[in-house]
Symmetry: C2
Subunit: 116 residues, 2 copies
C-alpha cells in the first residue's frame, strides 16, 4: 500500500491516542499540506524539530498497528465485501429476473456503505 494512504488509515484508526501537539503537527503537514518549514514558523520551532515530531508520531501509529492489527483486520473485511460485490455484479449480468435484480440492488447498497 501507498505510504501516505497507509499513514492516513493509521491516523484515522489511532489518531485519537496521540497528544494534541502530535495531532496538530500531523494535521498541518498531512491534511493542510504545510511544509516542515511553514509548520516550524507557525509553531516557533525548528524545521528539524517538526521533522522529529512527525517521525515520532508515525512511529507511534505504526507501533499501535503492530500491536493491534486493526487496520489490517478492517482492510481484510473490506476486501471480502469487495469480493462479494464482484459476485453480485456477475449474478446481476446473468440473471435479469426482477426479484434477483432487486435483492442485488439492496445488497450492493449495503456493500457500498461498508466500502465508503
Amino acid at each position: 500500500m501507498d505510504d501516505i494512504l497507509q499513514l492516513t488509515l493509521l491516523y484515522d484508526f489511532y489518531g485519537e491516542l496521540l497528544t494534541e501537539k502530535q495531532k496538530q503537527v500531523y494535521e498541518l503537514h498531512y491534511q493542510n499540506d504545510l511544509s516542515l518549514t511553514e509548520i516550524g514558523e507557525e509553531l516557533s520551532i525548528s524545521r528539524q524539530a517538526v521533522r522529529d515530531q512527525l517521525k515520532r508520531t508515525e512511529k507511534i501509529l505504526l507501533d499501535y498497528e503492530e500491536k493491534l492489527q486493526l487496520v489490517s483486520r478492517f482492510q481484510a473485511q473490506k476486501k471480502a465485501v469487495q469480493e462479494m460485490k464482484h459476485i453480485m455484479e456477475g449474478l446481476e449480468k446473468k440473471n435479469p429476473d426482477a426479484s434477483v435484480v432487486k435483492a442485488i440492488a439492496k445488497m450492493k447498497k449495503i456493500a457500498d456503505d461498508i466500502l465508503s
Copy 2:
C-alpha cells in the same frame, strides 16, 4: 450488549495495549474462570488488590473504546454483513436457478468468514 461479551470484545481489540500484569489478571479471571480470592492466592496479593486491578483494566479498555470506537465500528460492519446474508437467504428461497444458488453459496461463505 451483555457486559461480559462487551468486555471480551474490548479485550480482543485493545488487550495488547495492556501491561503483562493487567493481561495476566484479566485472563485468570475472565478466561480461566478463577475467583478473585484464587487469583489473589496465586499472585500473593489481596482479594481487594485483584478487584482494583480488574476494575482499572476494565476502565482502560473502556477508555480506549471511548476514544477509538473501533469495536462499535466493527460491530456495525458485522451487522451490515448479517443483513446482506439475510437478503441472500431470501433470494435463495425464491430462486432455485442453479447459477443463483452457486453465487449465493460463494457469497455466504465469504459472509460467514467475516461473521466468524
